[in-house]
């Protein structure tokens, strides 16, 4: 029990510590692929340090919602990180049915961010909040269809148990991994506002989705928002990697190796996609998300009928 708790705490610390590095890695790879040298690998840490030292200024008309929202964001992200298995280590929070808690913890953070954006009263931020809410509506079924089908296969409803009970002898499991990781990748791209859906580097308010919501925050608030953004990206990366854990044959060392190589491969994939893909028109994004949902539905159908 003591060892299990220690492992859980270490894995949360790993997620908290390495998430800016992952974001830095993606940015660096993207820069290299487009022929630039790019910012240093540790740039996110420097930026966070800079923001940490700055003064926080709140808009005059804002209420307590915009004060607590950044903190709520960070705390929900930490709770979500505490539910993920890193390598083969047992997470701190793990019980039957925690996939639903996981989805709605992330939903809670989004809810508070939307509220805070509307609280400030700027029209741009209201627009960004509306967009975020619309796309989140289409993004949620993707999570439930892909994780619902994997939970159907294994017969468990806890993230840790699901990933630990699946065997990969069956060829249909490999196909399942490929299909599921496509739809989870599309989900990650949407939730973390990366390239085909939202451009993290854009500076035109009319085209922004996620970035426009934190336009009026500064100092410590902005630090908290950015940090939770990095953690969110890493959380989705771990979710994607966790499909590949059954290949490790339940070995601790192999699990860690899969975790590290998986992160590197995923960072490269994100970099490549951001380099070659152009941004979709705003009206095409729901279609893109519905496509990912369709893949999830197909998964579920197949597993209902081959059982």
């Amino acid at each position: 029990m003591g060892l299990g708790l220690l492992q859980g705490i270490v894995s949360v610390l790993v997620v908290l510590g390495l998430s800016p590095l992952f974001a830095g890695l993606v940015n660096k790879l993207k820069a290299i692929l487009t022929g630039r040298i790019g910012a240093p690998l540790l740039q996110p840490y420097y930026e966070m340090q800079r923001l940490f030292r700055k003064e926080t200024i709140n808009a005059i008309g804002s209420s307590f919602i915009s004060r607590i929202s950044p903190l709520v964001n960070l705390v929900t992200m930490i709770i979500a990180a505490a539910m993920l298995p890193v390598g083969f280590w047992k997470p701190v929070i793990s019980f039957d049915g925690d996939i639903i808690l996981f989805a709605y913890i992330l939903g809670l953070s989004r809810f508070f961010q939307i509220l805070a954006a509307m609280d400030i009263g700027s029209s741009f931020e209201g627009m960004g909040a509306a967009r975020e809410a619309t796309f989140a509506l289409f993004a949620e079924p993707i999570f439930f269809f892909s994780f619902g089908s994997i939970s159907f296969i294994s017969g468990y409803t806890s993230l840790y148990m699901i990933l630990h009970s699946i065997q990969h002898q069956n060829i249909s499991y490999e196909v399942f991994i490929v299909i599921c990781s496509i739809s989870v990748f599309m989900l990650a791209v949407t939730e973390c506002s990366r390239m085909p859906v939202d451009d993290p580097n854009t500076h035109l308010e009319l085209t922004m989705i996620h970035e426009v919501m934190i336009l009026d925050n500064s100092g410590l608030d902005l630090f908290l928002y950015q940090y939770s953004g990095y953690i969110k990206l890493f959380i989705y990366a771990i979710l994607e990697i966790s499909f590949f854990y059954p290949f490790s044959g339940q070995g601790y060392l192999l699990g860690i190796i899969i975790f590290i190589t998986g992160s590197l491969v995923l960072a490269t994939a994100l970099g490549v996609v951001e380099t070659i893909a152009s941004r979709y028109k705003m009206k095409n994004i729901p279609q893109y998300l519905l496509f990912a949902t369709a893949i999830g539905i197909l998964n579920l159908l197949i597993y209902t009928f081959t059982r």
Binding site: S172, Q287, L290, F291, T293, F305, T306
Partner: protein, 210 residues
């Protein structure tokens, strides 16, 4: 293995319903041809026979190499624009496709209780037939109609392999010939239309007079 290939086939159908390029349709046709060829080759890995390899070989030549190349040639020759020009929104089309596939899967599950069949290949083939018809219904371009017809034809093939493992060879060869003739005729028709009219949309055919 058949299930895996059928899943890939279904994925290609989803891709067909979101893409808006004519070129992507041709690529998907090629991929579907490859999937069907592999599906036909698998039974011969265990007991090889020269006679049985004829259909997969014909399939490879006609569906993977010849027809896509011919369609590409038509696209190049007639200088067809790359947008497919749907008559309804792509999003609605995709929702329609999802609903259809779900209904078909459940229906074939019900069917499989009374007759022996492989549910997943059967349902995938059935969905391809439905989606081929949808493509013909909801697209304006003639060349896309040809692609829709070919998807329908692929669906019939998959459907056939799931019901009976050995269709009479003459029928299979017959279907291949059928498709070939249709594509050929379409090419000729498109060429004729191009010499008379500017566009290649079905809407223009409504105004055809002698």
């Amino acid at each position: 293995m058949e299930n895996v290939l059928s899943i890939l086939f279904c994925l290609s159908l989803f891709y067909l319903s979101v893409t808006s390029r004519v070129k992507a349709y041709v690529t998907v046709l090629r991929v579907q041809g490859i999937i069907l060829t592999i599906l036909l080759v698998i039974p011969f890995l265990s007991h090889f026979s020269v006679y049985g390899i004829i259909i997969p070989a014909t399939m490879l030549i006609v569906k993977v190499i010849y027809i896509p190349r011919y369609i590409n040639k038509v696209i190049l020759d007639l200088d067809i624009k790359r947008r497919i020009e749907p008559t309804i929104q792509q999003m609605v089309f995709l929702a329609l496709v999802i609903a259809t596939i779900v209904i078909i899967f459940f229906a074939s599950q019900l069917l499989s209780k009374s007759t022996p069949l492989n549910v997943i290949p059967f349902a995938s083939g059935f969905s391809a037939i439905a989606i081929g018809i949808y493509i013909i219904m909801f697209r304006k371009k003639l060349i896309v109609h040809v692609c829709g017809f070919l998807v329908l034809e692929n669906g019939i093939f998959l459907f056939g392999t799931s019901v009976a493992f050995e269709l009479p060879m003459l029928i299979e060869l017959g279907t291949l010939l059928d498709v070939f003739v249709v594509v050929f005729l379409m090419g000729i028709a498109l060429n004729r239309i191009s010499s008379t009219f500017e566009g290649f949309e079905v809407a223009h055919l409504g105004r055809l007079k002698d």
